[in-house]
Amino acid sequence: MLLGIFGITNNGLLALTALLTGVALVALALWMAGLLSPRSFNPQKGEAYECGIPTRGESMAQFKIGYYLFAILFLMFDVETVFLFPWAVRMRELGVNGLLSIAVFFGVLVLGLVYAWRKGALEWK
């Protein structure tokens, strides 16, 4: 049952197959679109799709800092989840000791969330 499809046990190989399938899908569809689709040239077509008049300045500009703050918070809590995974698998075997040590870790992170909340980092300004 757990042998895997076609008896291939090398999951890395299968994951690589899936990756290459994704690349092949995009490449094939673009190739077909290139064969089938029409080509016409018009200088207006190359412009940015905004409001009809030419764009002012670069659009790859600096942007609202709020997004960055949430990215930092995400980093902290996502790494937390990554650390929780190995413990979650072995939870029953590790018993009370594992539970206590993860509780300390968990408590520190909850404190982090409380700190961010109190500091107003979760408000969208």
């Binding site: 499809i5 197959t17 995009v26 029953r92």
Partner: protein
């Protein structure tokens, strides 16, 4: 329970009889690739039709009904139309990143797609860290969306992609925490293992109240993760034209469209894996005759049925709730869903430690 691996075993043995080992593996990998490609494309087409029909029913319309019987061929016609549209080359974009973004989006959904448990013995990738791998690869999609918005060099796409990035990244935490909660219950991260653990009873029943809470949180976060429904402000068409894929034309746009529908399937597939037993039929301890009858329904039907049903719920959200604002969206995640899933994890740990689960 029918074990579908006899088909793959038969192909393997036939190939093995006249080919050396490495060639067999190559041919089999090609088979897997072609199979994945076909299922991916067909499922995306089915989902486009399915969503349009449901949306029509919610709005008291008929929906697509001209192309083919009951409009079944409508999405094929749409795909063909997408293929024959011009790929406009723009002169203000970052060419390399602009071309790379659809690859990342499609690769992320394809790799997540390969991990899903399709049926008994019908699972392509079965890592022992399967569910973790799934979360990891599906977050590559965020990169694709951010790149698409940034490289387009357009104000609408930039706003759309940043909103989308903030949203997907935030809701990923809730998804991660609910998955940890369920991994606590299953004691394994392998997708096949999680399905086997549910052979007596599905986790949503087995896990008591925390499993139910986790299910609700997962469905909300999953809807946000696919940029759909009330959370579709990255592509809020009334303010941002089409959000991060405004500048993409023809098939390039088609990839984002495909990936969006496939992500809907993947999110509901993972929900059915974690809470409704993957391909496992509904088994109730003690009801032997009932369990036996349930086993007659093929496992593939079970998996696809559950996934399609959960997708229906996600589509239902879309036609029920109004769109959120960005500050409401972020406070929903950081002030409600995340604390709830943290408390829920503690609750689950307590229930497992004291052995209160079924």
């Amino acid at each position: 329970m029918q074990d579908l691996s006899f088909i793959t075993d038969w192909i393997h043995n036939t190939l093995r009889s006249f080919l050396p080992g490495w060639a067999t593996v190559t041919v089999e990998c090609l088979f897997i690739g072609v199979g994945l490609l076909l299922v991916y494309a067909l499922l995306a087409l089915f989902y486009i039709y399915y969503e349009r029909k449901i949306c029509a029913a919610f709005q008291c319309r008929l929906g697509p009904n001209r192309v083919g019987p009951w409009g079944l061929l409508q999405s094929f016609a749409d795909m063909f139309k997408m293929l024959i549209k011009e790929l406009i080359s723009l002169n203000h974009v970052d060419k390399f990143l602009f071309a790379l973004a659809p690859y990342l989006v499609i690769i992320a959904s394809m790799m997540a797609f390969a991990v899903l448990p399709w049926g008994n013995g019908l699972q392509v990738v079965d890592f022992n860290i399967g569910i973790f791998f799934l979360i990891a690869v599906s977050s590559i999609g965020v990169l694709g969306i951010l790149l698409a918005g940034w490289s387009s060099n357009n104000k609408f796409t930039l706003i759309g992609s940043l909103r989308s990035g903030a949203q997907m990244v935030s809701y990923e935490i809730s998804i991660g925490l609910t998955v940890v909660t369920m991994v606590c219950l299953s004691g394994t991260m392998s997708v096949g293992g999680i399905v086997q653990e549910q052979s007596d009873l599905w986790f949503i029943f087995k896990g008591h109240v925390p499993a139910l809470i986790a299910f609700v949180v997962y469905m909300i976060a999953g809807t946000a993760e696919t940029n759909r429904g009330p959370f579709d402000l990255p592509e809020a068409e009334s303010e941002l034209t089409a959000g991060y894929h405004t500048e993409y034309s023809g098939m390039h746009f088609g990839f984002f469209y495909l990936a969006e529908y496939l992500n809907l399937f993947i999110v509901s597939g993972v929900a059915s894996l974690l809470f409704l037993g993957g391909w496992m039929p509904l088994h109730i301890p003690g009801w032997e005759a009932f369990n036996h009858i349930m086993d007659y329904i093929p496992s593939v039907v079970w998996f696809i049925g559950k996934a399609v049903f959960l997708s229906f719920i996600i589509i239902w959200f879309k036609w029920t709730f109004p769109r959120l604002r960005i500050d409401q969206l972020l406070s929903l995640e950081w002030k409600y869903l995340m604390p709830i899933s943290l408390v829920n994890l503690v609750l689950m740990v307590l229930i497992i430690t004291f052995g209160w689960h079924f």
